[in-house]
Subunit: 378 residues, 2 copies
């Protein structure tokens, strides 16, 4: 019966896969973005609708002179820089959506998200909210988004999260402690511009941590019990590419940055057809309770979770050593009992990935004592 | 300057990749087809349009009692069985389109193509013609299709051609001898149902020849000069899957059929982001002049083209031996001079793939004597 239960809880919405509509790929591809935005303006004008665009851009680019006009923005468009000190919360999404409506951008021709996972997820969530109404928290879960969001274009500037390809946009609900996205076909980007040139200026540590998100996704997916041939193929190729990148002398060579951008996209496609495992729930606990960002939290978690993923743990440590990147240590060493309990709760709530990894009896393995002991090693 | 010319001729339409909209994957997924067709009927009804569907089905299934109703067809729909004795011609596409119009199906809610490359390509071509008007030959080439075709759903029943994922539908123009598809974003399927169960009844030889189409595509793509990281990744994983399938004891086990269906889809995605090489032009010559079907023609060609692809040639022969499949021999041994000249012309016309493989000076390598000598070995 354990098998039957496993199948049941993991059956939701994975058999049908929605692809990103289309994408441009290549160094310099970002110059094509303006063409795509202009096409959307034309379609909007023909329909008698608002032909202005909204640009949500990682704050990193705020000081880059001329960057936004390179992206095809016009003075009548709205450009908002997205802070990356904190990951998206249901509150931050609600506030940004309200701000756009207040400024008259309730139905723009397109929303262009330019940045890492935080910015891309923000663009996806806001696009859904503008057309569906209500609050972000209403849509945390599976297939709760009722109608298509505003047309949206994703332009990743760092590789690894796979947000550009997935049907989710992760947000933390500070009230409930729940870190969960709007898992929906409507969350998928209509178009992507994949330009590896954009990742040349990423700090090395961040480049590594974020790239590892793709690696860890796929390690978890391939070790899970919910598998299918297409998810496996995407995961396998993502791992092959990550090995090429992170076992190379320079993970940031032109070739490596191209490969990692592909790995991120394929890793996201893998996730769309599979589930994560033990690392992501622990990582989510670190994010929700301690505010540690997703990608570095993944790395901290995988380092301590060698008993669940022995080979990947070893390979990952070798990659970090090769690229001379330090994984933060001691982040959970001196916490209060309440914090440890919160970490446990923030981990164990992720039933789907834990069932995928450990079966429906995962609570018998991940007791509170066991989970706290693992966190204390992080 | 050779490089500049190579870049130029190969630059057309590859940087932008259109994905299949969505897909169902898994054994038994075909039962979901009716749901998708019914969704299209509903959308058509809401728009006051024709809510009937057209089913184009491989003639193989004509005798399978109840198969078409399993696919969700209703008595008011139009079901046409597609013959597979000959590959699609511009004439056959024109005739089928005229027939559909005559029967009142000029704008159906969706066209469902169920079969192999012939049937899927037929569905794609007819869908384009119904909305664009004119004749099939008008659209042979790159980006000549002006408006989106009728909505279309692909259901492959054999794996390898990648037609389910590509932006082309190959047709032979008997008047000009040109074998070339409607290469267009509008040619891409809106939805796929990928059900590996459907391939269980394919004859072993045909299963091998067709599967090899994916393998050969990707061998050619990875050996070419026009490369990019995303095409490479798709090609690499396609080859990995083909090796698992064709070097296994039984290429038609449940697991192998699942893997080959994924390989076909990813191989098609690879082609969308790259070019083929020397094998496909020779194979096209065999098809145009001698009427040999595409997939077996590929195998015949690769067997004789070891000097261009030495490792793949060896691996391919090993796969054929392992699966106990014979590659036809002597198909060009006793032809007339006119036929040899036609074979040469039918090969050398494929400038893009030959430039990709051999550079813009390919005619200096592939002289008529050389090409005829190679055909005589087939």
């Amino acid at each position: 019966m354990a098998n039957a239960k496993t199948t049941n809880i993991l059956d939701t919405g994975v058999k049908l896969v929605r692809n990103v509509g289309s994408f441009n790929f290549g160094n310099g591809a970002v110059v094509d973005l303006a063409i795509h935005v202009d096409k959307r303006r034309e379609i909007a004008r023909e329909a008698g609708a608002d032909d202005r665009a909204v640009y949500l851009v990682d704050e990193f680019f705020e000081s880059s002179e001329g960057f936004v006009s390179l992206l095809g923005s016009r003075h009548e468009d709205h450009v908002a820089y997205v802070g990356t000190a904190d990951e998206p919360t249901t509150d931050s999404i609600d506030k940004l959506t309200a701000k756009l409506i207040a400024k008259g951008f309730s139905n723009p021709a397109t929303i262009v998200g330019v940045g890492g996972g935080i910015t891309l997820d923000t663009a996806k969530a806001v696009a859904n909210l503008l057309t569906n109404g209500g609050n972000a928290a209403d849509y945390q879960g599976w297939d709760l988004v009722k109608v298509p969001g505003v047309h949206k274009i994703g332009v990743p500037t760092i590789s690894g999260t796979g947000s550009e390809a997935t049907r989710t946009c992760v947000m933390t609900n500070k009230k409930t402690g729940l870190k969960l996205g709007m898992n929906s076909d409507h969350t998928v980007f209509n178009h992507l511009v994949l330009d590896p040139n954009l990742t040349a200026t990423v700090p090395r540590d961040q480049y590594f941590y974020t790239g590892m998100d793709a690696y860890i996704h796929c390690v978890e997916a391939l070790a899970g019990s919910y598998r299918n041939a297409i998810g496996d193929a995407y995961s396998q190729e993502t791992l092959n590419l990550c090995r090429k990148v992170f076992l190379a002398d320079d993970m940031m060579s032109t070739e490596a940055r191209e490969q990692l951008m592909v790995a991120s996209y394929l890793g996201g496609s893998a996730i769309a057809a599979s589930y994560v495992g033990v690392v992501h729930p622990f990582s989510a606990g670190l994010s929700v309770v301690l505010g540690i960002h997703h990608c570095v939290a993944n790395c901290i978690a995988l380092k301590a979770l060698g008993e669940f993923y022995p080979e990947a743990n070893k390979e990952f440590l070798k990659m970090a050593e090769r690229q001379k990147v330090l994984i933060p240590a001691g982040v959970c060493s001196n916490l209060s009992d309440e914090q440890y309990e919160a970490l446990f709760k923030g981990t164990i709530v992720h039933e789907k990935p834990l069932t995928n990894a450990l079966g429906s009896d995962f609570r018998e393995i991940l007791t509170i004592d066991k989970v706290v002991a693992l966190f204390k090693q992080m």
